[in-house]
Amino acid sequence: MVAVILSLTLLLLDHRFHHLQQLRSALTFVTYPLHYLADLPFTASRWFSETTSSRERLLESNRELRTENLRLRADLQKYQSLEAENMRLRDLLDSSFKVGDRVLVAELSSVDLDPYKQQVIINKGAISGVFEGQPVLDANAVMGQVTNVTPLTSTVLLITDTSHALPVQVLRNGLRTIALGTGRIDALKLPYLPTNSDIREGDMLVTSGLGGKFPPGYPVATVNRIDRSPDAPFSNIIAQPSAHLDRSREVLLVWTVPSQPAGDGVADDLPGDTAAGDGSADAAGAAGPAAAPPTATGAEPGA
């Protein structure tokens, strides 16, 4: 009976107050050998297939990568000139913008967690500078954020978990809303858009940067179903995450580096938390739609 009471207390503390992060981190560190062991066969088989792959295959993949690298570099030139132009325009508008993201590549551990919670474990931790709340991307889009850090590993909550909400905007017109996880790996829902809002199937959703956790402008999902019923105040919208949540093996951890040391950059960082709540919220609101057109011009030639 003591155990039952203790469990219930722990449950309550963990669920309501999040007091147990320290304890959880310590225990996760203790159970690291088990995670490592479970992951071992897969790491070993990958290592084996890498060391025994033939010369021809390596040459071929090398050639492919070289071509891709060339193509990406060409894209990057275009992107750099657009970024410079964007910064110049922003200077004219006197608004600041955070650029210069530092990234670190981490690998997923092949470990299954609770099947009813969308989480993954990655092989980088506090030693590599990972922090709680850090955004995690894959090569295509936003994957989730770090929820628990130990020295060697960290746990990432995916954007499709039911407890995850992500501020997004529609790339086409800058319409801002919040994307909630559904618990299914292939669906996000947008429950807070009125029936008459301008959103279509196929619209791309990108992070809006509000909320201060995710850097703005990263792709999140594509709208793939809209149910508008005339008698309901909000439409029922489902979007499909662009990240390969169930397939990616490598993920990117992002540190946002503020490019300008100017004071207004910091004020825009946390729109809700500053003393001048109304003013800065307006500023952020103005920055939202303004951010969309340059990004759109950047995306269209590629598409």
């Binding site: 155990a3 479970a38 897969f42 609770d114 009813y116």
Partner: protein, 161 residues
Amino acid sequence: MSAGGHGRAVIVVTLCVAMLLVILPMPEWARPFRPPWVTLVLVYWVIALPHCVGVASGFAAGIVLDVLTGTLLGQHALGLSVVAFIAIQLHQRIRVFPFWQQSLGILALLIVEHLFGLWITGATRGIAPPLEYWAGPLLGALLWPWVFVTLRKTRRHFKVS
């Protein structure tokens, strides 16, 4: 009586193997059908050595499992403590049952444990798991005879009693 540190080590190692089986990667479609290995192993030890493995061990194993699988701290701990408690109450009866009757008893225990899991997920996250959730107890009950025989062999081999 327990054979000191040696016997305890065997119990801990079997529980660790069970936990390894729980987090070992499986294809996405097979994940809901994963048998509750830790519960099976724990119940075996409780029935075999009730004076040595009990509610406290269940609680400890549950906490470790919570941390391993990233659930709320206490979710598995609650389920496993309750299961250990019931198993202690019934261990003399379960011991003398034939295998198929034991499996039925285990099924009931596993369902109780899953019911706690269901309540906690429902209360904290507001989602009801799909019907496959209940495949776990069924598979666990089907696997029980093999788990039982394997663990009994292990126990006799290492002379844990």
